[in-house]
Protein backbone atom coordinates (compact mmCIF):
# COMPACT_ATOMS: atom_id res chain seq x y z
CA UNK A 1 0.00 0.00 0.00
CA UNK A 2 1.38 3.41 -0.94
CA UNK A 3 1.93 6.09 1.70
CA UNK A 4 -1.07 8.14 0.55
CA UNK A 5 -3.39 5.09 0.48
CA UNK A 6 -2.29 4.20 3.99
CA UNK A 7 -3.07 7.76 5.16
CA UNK A 8 -6.52 7.70 3.52
CA UNK A 9 -7.27 4.37 5.21
CA UNK A 10 -6.17 5.65 8.63
CA UNK A 11 -8.19 8.87 8.27
CA UNK A 12 -11.29 6.83 7.37
CA UNK A 13 -10.70 4.67 10.45
CA UNK A 14 -10.29 7.66 12.76
CA UNK A 15 -13.43 9.33 11.42
CA UNK A 16 -15.53 6.22 12.09
CA UNK A 17 -13.83 4.84 15.24
CA UNK A 18 -12.44 8.00 16.83
CA UNK A 19 -8.88 8.52 18.10
CA UNK A 20 -6.66 5.93 19.81
CA UNK A 21 -8.76 6.23 22.99
CA UNK A 22 -12.01 5.92 21.04
CA UNK A 23 -12.95 9.59 21.45
CA UNK A 24 -14.97 10.87 18.48
CA UNK A 25 -13.15 13.00 15.92
CA UNK A 26 -15.37 15.60 14.21
CA UNK A 27 -13.08 16.24 11.28
CA UNK A 28 -9.59 15.66 9.91
CA UNK A 29 -7.64 18.56 8.43
CA UNK A 30 -5.64 17.61 5.33
CA UNK A 31 -5.42 18.61 1.68
CA UNK A 32 -8.08 17.80 -0.87
CA UNK A 33 -7.70 17.49 -4.62
CA UNK A 34 -10.53 18.58 -6.92
CA UNK A 35 -10.86 20.03 -10.39
CA UNK A 36 -9.98 23.35 -8.67
CA UNK A 37 -6.52 22.13 -7.65
CA UNK A 38 -5.28 21.12 -4.20
CA UNK A 39 -6.33 23.07 -1.12
CA UNK A 40 -6.74 22.59 2.64
CA UNK A 41 -9.90 20.74 3.62
CA UNK A 42 -11.70 19.35 6.65
CA UNK A 43 -12.71 15.75 5.99
CA UNK A 44 -15.77 14.65 7.90
CA UNK A 45 -17.54 11.34 8.43
CA UNK A 46 -18.97 10.03 5.15
CA UNK A 47 -16.72 12.19 2.94
CA UNK A 48 -15.05 10.60 -0.09
CA UNK A 49 -11.40 10.25 0.91
CA UNK A 50 -10.03 9.44 -2.55
CA UNK A 51 -9.22 13.14 -3.03
CA UNK A 52 -7.14 13.36 0.17
CA UNK A 53 -3.64 14.59 -0.66
CA UNK A 54 -0.47 15.48 1.26
CA UNK A 55 1.30 17.64 -1.30
CA UNK A 56 2.01 20.51 -2.04
CA UNK A 57 2.37 21.46 1.58
CA UNK A 58 0.10 24.13 3.10
CA UNK A 59 0.32 25.43 6.70
CA UNK A 60 -2.57 23.24 7.86
CA UNK A 61 -2.08 24.08 11.55
CA UNK A 62 -3.37 27.59 10.80
CA UNK A 63 -6.67 26.00 9.85
CA UNK A 64 -6.69 23.81 12.97
CA UNK A 65 -6.17 26.93 15.08
CA UNK A 66 -8.98 28.79 13.33
CA UNK A 67 -11.40 25.88 13.86
CA UNK A 68 -10.41 25.39 17.50
CA UNK A 69 -11.13 29.07 18.15
CA UNK A 70 -14.43 29.11 16.21
CA UNK A 71 -15.79 25.86 17.62
CA UNK A 72 -14.81 25.52 21.30
CA UNK A 73 -15.71 21.83 21.54
CA UNK A 74 -14.64 20.56 18.12
CA UNK A 75 -12.24 17.61 18.13
CA UNK A 76 -9.96 17.39 15.14
CA UNK A 77 -7.33 15.26 13.54
CA UNK A 78 -4.60 16.61 11.31
CA UNK A 79 -2.47 14.90 8.69
CA UNK A 80 0.87 16.45 9.58
CA UNK A 81 4.42 16.75 8.33
CA UNK A 82 7.40 17.44 10.57
CA UNK A 83 6.95 21.20 10.22
CA UNK A 84 3.20 20.95 10.97
CA UNK A 85 4.00 19.11 14.19
CA UNK A 86 6.59 21.74 15.13
CA UNK A 87 3.99 24.44 14.41
CA UNK A 88 1.56 22.54 16.65
CA UNK A 89 4.10 22.53 19.51
CA UNK A 90 4.75 26.29 19.40
CA UNK A 91 1.03 27.08 18.88
CA UNK A 92 0.04 24.97 21.87
CA UNK A 93 2.45 26.92 24.10
CA UNK A 94 0.79 30.18 23.05
CA UNK A 95 -2.82 29.01 23.39
CA UNK A 96 -3.51 29.02 19.66
CA UNK A 97 -4.75 25.43 19.64
CA UNK A 98 -5.99 22.99 22.22
CA UNK A 99 -3.76 19.88 22.19
CA UNK A 100 -6.45 17.93 24.06
CA UNK A 101 -8.74 18.34 21.05
CA UNK A 102 -6.22 17.34 18.40
CA UNK A 103 -5.05 14.00 17.08
CA UNK A 104 -1.91 14.04 14.93
CA UNK A 105 -1.49 11.63 12.07
CA UNK A 106 2.16 12.19 11.18
CA UNK A 107 3.80 11.24 7.92
CA UNK A 108 7.36 11.49 6.67
CA UNK A 109 8.31 13.92 3.91
CA UNK A 110 10.02 12.64 0.79
CA UNK A 111 13.81 12.89 0.44
CA UNK A 112 13.18 15.47 -2.29
CA UNK A 113 11.07 17.62 0.06
CA UNK A 114 13.85 17.47 2.65
CA UNK A 115 16.37 18.62 0.05
CA UNK A 116 14.36 21.55 -1.33
CA UNK A 117 13.27 22.70 2.15
CA UNK A 118 16.79 22.30 3.62
CA UNK A 119 14.85 20.60 6.39
CA UNK A 120 16.76 19.26 9.39
CA UNK A 121 13.76 17.26 10.69
CA UNK A 122 11.65 16.17 7.70
CA UNK A 123 9.32 13.96 9.74
CA UNK A 124 7.16 14.38 12.84
CA UNK A 125 7.99 12.79 16.20
CA UNK A 126 4.56 11.17 16.18
CA UNK A 127 5.35 9.37 12.93
CA UNK A 128 2.61 7.02 11.76
CA UNK A 129 3.16 6.63 8.02
CA UNK A 130 6.35 6.54 5.97
CA UNK A 131 10.09 6.22 6.55
CA UNK A 132 12.10 9.23 7.74
CA UNK A 133 14.33 10.54 4.95
CA UNK A 134 17.83 11.88 5.57
CA UNK A 135 17.79 15.52 6.68
CA UNK A 136 18.32 18.08 3.94
CA UNK A 137 21.55 20.07 3.56
CA UNK A 138 22.05 23.40 5.31
CA UNK A 139 20.83 26.27 3.12
CA UNK A 140 23.89 27.10 0.97
CA UNK A 141 22.97 30.79 1.17
CA UNK A 142 23.45 30.67 4.95
CA UNK A 143 27.01 29.41 4.47
CA UNK A 144 27.61 32.13 1.90
CA UNK A 145 26.22 34.73 4.29
CA UNK A 146 28.44 33.50 7.12
CA UNK A 147 31.50 34.19 4.99
CA UNK A 148 30.46 37.82 4.36
CA UNK A 149 31.83 40.89 6.13
CA UNK A 150 29.42 43.13 8.05
CA UNK A 151 29.31 45.59 5.16
CA UNK A 152 28.57 42.82 2.67
CA UNK A 153 25.80 41.47 4.88
CA UNK A 154 24.17 44.88 5.06
CA UNK A 155 24.44 45.28 1.30
CA UNK A 156 22.96 41.80 0.84
CA UNK A 157 19.87 42.56 2.91
CA UNK A 158 19.53 46.04 1.47
CA UNK A 159 19.37 44.55 -2.01
CA UNK A 160 17.00 41.75 -0.99
CA UNK A 161 14.59 43.86 1.10
CA UNK A 162 14.46 46.50 -1.63
CA UNK A 163 12.58 43.95 -3.72
CA UNK A 164 9.78 43.74 -1.13
CA UNK A 165 6.35 44.73 -2.45
CA UNK A 166 4.88 44.76 1.07
CA UNK A 167 2.27 42.11 0.35
CA UNK A 168 2.46 40.86 3.96
CA UNK A 169 2.33 37.34 2.50
CA UNK A 170 5.19 36.16 4.76
CA UNK A 171 3.12 37.18 7.77
CA UNK A 172 -0.20 35.94 6.40
CA UNK A 173 1.01 32.45 5.50
CA UNK A 174 3.03 31.95 8.71
CA UNK A 175 1.49 29.45 11.16
CA UNK A 176 3.27 31.21 14.03
CA UNK A 177 2.12 34.77 13.17
CA UNK A 178 -1.06 35.31 15.14
CA UNK A 179 -0.79 38.62 17.04
CA UNK A 180 -4.10 40.48 17.02
CA UNK A 181 -2.38 43.83 16.45
CA UNK A 182 0.56 43.50 14.05
CA UNK A 183 3.58 45.78 14.54
CA UNK A 184 4.18 45.64 10.80
CA UNK A 185 0.94 47.58 10.38
CA UNK A 186 1.81 50.07 13.11
CA UNK A 187 2.27 53.50 11.54
CA UNK A 188 4.87 54.37 14.16
CA UNK A 189 7.16 51.71 12.67
CA UNK A 190 6.01 51.40 9.09
CA UNK A 191 4.85 54.48 7.23
CA UNK A 192 1.94 53.51 4.95
CA UNK A 193 2.15 54.01 1.21
CA UNK A 194 5.92 53.69 0.84
CA UNK A 195 7.85 51.12 -1.17
CA UNK A 196 10.28 49.59 -0.40
CA UNK A 197 9.35 49.38 3.28
CA UNK A 198 11.68 50.96 5.85
CA UNK A 199 15.06 49.24 5.90
CA UNK A 200 15.75 47.20 7.89
CA UNK A 201 12.89 47.81 10.35
CA UNK A 202 10.07 46.17 8.42
CA UNK A 203 11.68 42.76 8.04
CA UNK A 204 13.53 42.92 11.33
CA UNK A 205 10.28 43.45 13.27
CA UNK A 206 9.04 40.14 11.95
CA UNK A 207 12.39 38.43 12.45
CA UNK A 208 12.47 39.52 16.11
CA UNK A 209 8.89 38.42 16.66
CA UNK A 210 9.68 35.03 15.12
CA UNK A 211 12.61 34.41 17.47
CA UNK A 212 11.77 31.22 19.42
CA UNK A 213 8.68 30.79 17.24
CA UNK A 214 9.94 30.08 13.70
CA UNK A 215 9.69 26.37 13.08
CA UNK A 216 11.38 26.45 9.65
CA UNK A 217 8.41 25.46 7.52
CA UNK A 218 9.64 27.73 4.69
CA UNK A 219 6.15 28.95 3.86
CA UNK A 220 7.23 32.64 4.00
CA UNK A 221 9.92 32.18 1.39
CA UNK A 222 7.70 30.01 -0.81
CA UNK A 223 4.92 32.60 -0.86
CA UNK A 224 7.16 35.65 -1.40
CA UNK A 225 6.35 37.16 -4.82
CA UNK A 226 9.67 39.05 -4.72
CA UNK A 227 11.73 35.89 -4.13
CA UNK A 228 13.43 37.26 -1.02
CA UNK A 229 15.43 34.43 0.63
CA UNK A 230 13.62 34.91 3.94
CA UNK A 231 14.65 31.53 5.31
CA UNK A 232 18.25 32.76 5.49
CA UNK A 233 17.09 35.40 7.96
CA UNK A 234 15.05 32.90 9.95
CA UNK A 235 17.70 30.16 9.86
CA UNK A 236 20.16 32.64 11.35
CA UNK A 237 17.61 33.66 13.99
CA UNK A 238 16.90 30.03 14.84
CA UNK A 239 20.61 29.32 15.12
CA UNK A 240 21.06 32.23 17.55
CA UNK A 241 18.11 31.12 19.68
CA UNK A 242 19.54 27.61 19.89
CA UNK A 243 23.14 28.69 20.51
CA UNK A 244 22.50 31.58 22.88
CA UNK A 245 19.38 30.41 24.72
CA UNK A 246 19.47 26.65 24.25
CA UNK A 247 16.00 26.59 22.74
CA UNK A 248 14.90 24.88 19.53
CA UNK A 249 11.43 25.98 18.44
CA UNK A 250 9.10 23.08 17.75
CA UNK A 251 11.30 20.45 19.40
CA UNK A 252 9.76 19.93 22.82
CA UNK A 253 6.26 20.79 24.02
CA UNK A 254 7.45 20.94 27.66
CA UNK A 255 10.28 23.43 27.00
CA UNK A 256 9.40 27.02 27.83
CA UNK A 257 10.05 29.59 25.08
CA UNK A 258 12.92 31.79 26.36
CA UNK A 259 11.22 35.04 25.41
CA UNK A 260 8.14 34.10 27.43
CA UNK A 261 10.02 33.47 30.70
CA UNK A 262 12.26 35.73 32.74
CA UNK A 263 16.01 35.62 32.45
CA UNK A 264 16.46 33.87 35.81
CA UNK A 265 14.95 30.82 34.24
CA UNK A 266 16.75 31.03 30.93
CA UNK A 267 20.09 32.78 31.37
CA UNK A 268 21.99 33.91 28.31
CA UNK A 269 25.00 31.72 27.69
CA UNK A 270 27.64 34.37 28.01
CA UNK A 271 30.45 33.87 25.54
CA UNK A 272 28.60 31.30 23.47
CA UNK A 273 27.71 31.77 19.86
CA UNK A 274 29.46 34.24 17.62
Amino acid sequence: MSEIEEIRKLVAERLTKGDAKGTTIDGVVALCKSSDGIAPYVFQKGDDLSGLEISPKYPVMTLVSKLHKMFPTIRLGVVARGCDERAYIEMAKRNQIDPDRLYILGFACTAEDAQTCHCLAPYPKQLVVGTPPAPGPINPLVEKYDAMSLGERRAFWKQQFNKCIKCYGCRNICPECFCEACAMEDMAWVEPGLLAPPFPTFHMIRAMHMASRCIACRECENTCPAHIPLTVLYDLMRRDITTLLGYTPGADIAAKPPLSVNLDEAPLRVGAGH
Binding site: G27, D36, A39, V42, G169
Partner: protein, 135 residues
Protein backbone atom coordinates in the same frame (compact mmCIF):
# COMPACT_ATOMS: atom_id res chain seq x y z
CA UNK B 1 -19.76 22.45 10.00
CA UNK B 2 -19.41 23.11 6.30
CA UNK B 3 -15.86 23.87 5.16
CA UNK B 4 -15.21 25.02 1.63
CA UNK B 5 -12.42 26.53 -0.47
CA UNK B 6 -13.68 28.15 -3.67
CA UNK B 7 -11.14 28.71 -6.43
CA UNK B 8 -11.35 32.14 -7.98
CA UNK B 9 -9.25 34.61 -9.94
CA UNK B 10 -8.19 37.91 -8.42
CA UNK B 11 -10.35 40.79 -9.63
CA UNK B 12 -7.79 43.52 -9.11
CA UNK B 13 -5.58 43.33 -12.20
CA UNK B 14 -4.99 41.46 -15.41
CA UNK B 15 -2.24 39.14 -14.10
CA UNK B 16 -4.76 36.45 -13.24
CA UNK B 17 -3.49 35.24 -9.87
CA UNK B 18 -5.55 32.53 -8.33
CA UNK B 19 -6.70 32.01 -4.79
CA UNK B 20 -9.17 30.05 -2.71
CA UNK B 21 -11.81 31.94 -0.80
CA UNK B 22 -12.30 29.99 2.40
CA UNK B 23 -15.80 29.77 3.84
CA UNK B 24 -17.00 28.12 7.02
CA UNK B 25 -20.76 27.64 7.26
CA UNK B 26 -21.25 30.05 4.37
CA UNK B 27 -19.24 32.92 5.89
CA UNK B 28 -15.95 34.10 4.38
CA UNK B 29 -13.14 33.25 6.80
CA UNK B 30 -9.98 33.73 4.77
CA UNK B 31 -7.90 33.54 1.61
CA UNK B 32 -5.43 30.79 0.66
CA UNK B 33 -3.08 31.34 -2.27
CA UNK B 34 -3.41 28.48 -4.76
CA UNK B 35 -0.14 26.57 -4.83
CA UNK B 36 -1.25 24.41 -7.73
CA UNK B 37 -2.18 27.32 -10.00
CA UNK B 38 0.11 27.89 -13.00
CA UNK B 39 0.03 31.69 -12.91
CA UNK B 40 0.52 32.64 -9.29
CA UNK B 41 2.10 29.45 -7.88
CA UNK B 42 1.13 30.12 -4.28
CA UNK B 43 2.03 33.80 -4.34
CA UNK B 44 -0.21 36.87 -4.03
CA UNK B 45 0.21 40.62 -3.68
CA UNK B 46 -1.42 42.66 -0.92
CA UNK B 47 -4.57 43.12 -2.99
CA UNK B 48 -4.93 39.40 -3.56
CA UNK B 49 -4.46 38.60 0.12
CA UNK B 50 -7.23 41.09 0.95
CA UNK B 51 -9.48 40.38 -2.02
CA UNK B 52 -12.47 39.54 0.17
CA UNK B 53 -12.37 42.81 2.11
CA UNK B 54 -15.12 44.52 0.13
CA UNK B 55 -17.58 41.62 0.20
CA UNK B 56 -19.14 42.49 3.53
CA UNK B 57 -18.09 46.16 3.58
CA UNK B 58 -20.88 48.53 4.67
CA UNK B 59 -19.64 50.91 1.92
CA UNK B 60 -20.26 48.39 -0.83
CA UNK B 61 -22.72 49.48 -3.51
CA UNK B 62 -25.25 46.74 -4.10
CA UNK B 63 -27.52 48.47 -6.61
CA UNK B 64 -26.90 51.00 -9.41
CA UNK B 65 -27.27 54.66 -8.46
CA UNK B 66 -28.92 57.25 -10.75
CA UNK B 67 -28.22 60.92 -10.23
CA UNK B 68 -31.45 62.84 -9.79
CA UNK B 69 -30.82 66.52 -9.17
CA UNK B 70 -27.90 66.64 -6.74
CA UNK B 71 -28.61 63.23 -5.26
CA UNK B 72 -27.78 59.64 -6.10
CA UNK B 73 -30.86 57.44 -5.96
CA UNK B 74 -30.82 53.64 -5.78
CA UNK B 75 -32.24 51.99 -8.91
CA UNK B 76 -32.83 48.56 -10.40
CA UNK B 77 -30.44 47.19 -13.05
CA UNK B 78 -33.22 47.34 -15.66
CA UNK B 79 -33.88 50.96 -14.86
CA UNK B 80 -30.18 51.90 -14.98
CA UNK B 81 -29.38 50.00 -18.17
CA UNK B 82 -32.46 51.39 -19.96
CA UNK B 83 -31.43 54.91 -19.00
CA UNK B 84 -27.87 54.34 -20.27
CA UNK B 85 -29.14 52.85 -23.56
CA UNK B 86 -31.60 55.72 -24.08
CA UNK B 87 -28.93 58.36 -23.44
CA UNK B 88 -26.35 56.65 -25.68
CA UNK B 89 -28.93 56.34 -28.47
CA UNK B 90 -29.85 60.00 -28.13
CA UNK B 91 -26.18 61.10 -28.23
CA UNK B 92 -25.49 58.87 -31.23
CA UNK B 93 -28.47 60.30 -33.12
CA UNK B 94 -27.57 63.86 -32.30
CA UNK B 95 -23.77 63.77 -32.75
CA UNK B 96 -22.86 60.48 -34.44
CA UNK B 97 -21.28 57.26 -33.11
CA UNK B 98 -17.77 58.74 -32.83
CA UNK B 99 -19.04 61.11 -30.16
CA UNK B 100 -19.10 58.07 -27.86
CA UNK B 101 -16.08 56.37 -26.33
CA UNK B 102 -15.79 53.21 -24.25
CA UNK B 103 -13.22 52.57 -21.55
CA UNK B 104 -12.73 48.97 -20.49
CA UNK B 105 -10.77 47.55 -17.64
CA UNK B 106 -7.98 45.15 -16.76
CA UNK B 107 -10.32 43.96 -14.02
CA UNK B 108 -12.65 42.51 -16.66
CA UNK B 109 -12.11 39.07 -18.11
CA UNK B 110 -10.87 38.61 -21.65
CA UNK B 111 -14.38 37.61 -22.66
CA UNK B 112 -15.95 40.72 -21.11
CA UNK B 113 -13.44 42.90 -22.96
CA UNK B 114 -14.32 41.07 -26.17
CA UNK B 115 -17.99 41.87 -25.59
CA UNK B 116 -17.13 45.53 -25.00
CA UNK B 117 -15.38 45.52 -28.39
CA UNK B 118 -18.52 44.07 -29.97
CA UNK B 119 -20.69 46.67 -28.29
CA UNK B 120 -18.37 49.45 -29.37
CA UNK B 121 -17.69 48.53 -32.99
CA UNK B 122 -20.70 46.43 -34.01
CA UNK B 123 -23.53 47.95 -31.96
CA UNK B 124 -22.60 51.60 -31.44
CA UNK B 125 -20.37 51.83 -34.51
CA UNK B 126 -17.22 53.47 -33.18
CA UNK B 127 -13.59 52.45 -32.80
CA UNK B 128 -13.27 54.69 -29.73
CA UNK B 129 -12.44 51.92 -27.30
CA UNK B 130 -9.47 51.72 -24.97
CA UNK B 131 -8.48 50.30 -21.63
CA UNK B 132 -8.04 51.87 -18.23
CA UNK B 133 -4.25 51.76 -18.29
CA UNK B 134 -4.27 54.49 -20.97
CA UNK B 135 -6.70 56.79 -19.19
Amino acid sequence: MEYKNTLTTCIYCGAGCSMYIETIDGQITGVWPSKTHTISQGRLCIKGWNVTEFVNSPDRLKTPLIRKGDQFVEASWDEALTLIADKLNAIKQESGPDSIGLLTSAKCTNEENYLMNKLSRAVIGTNNIDHCARL
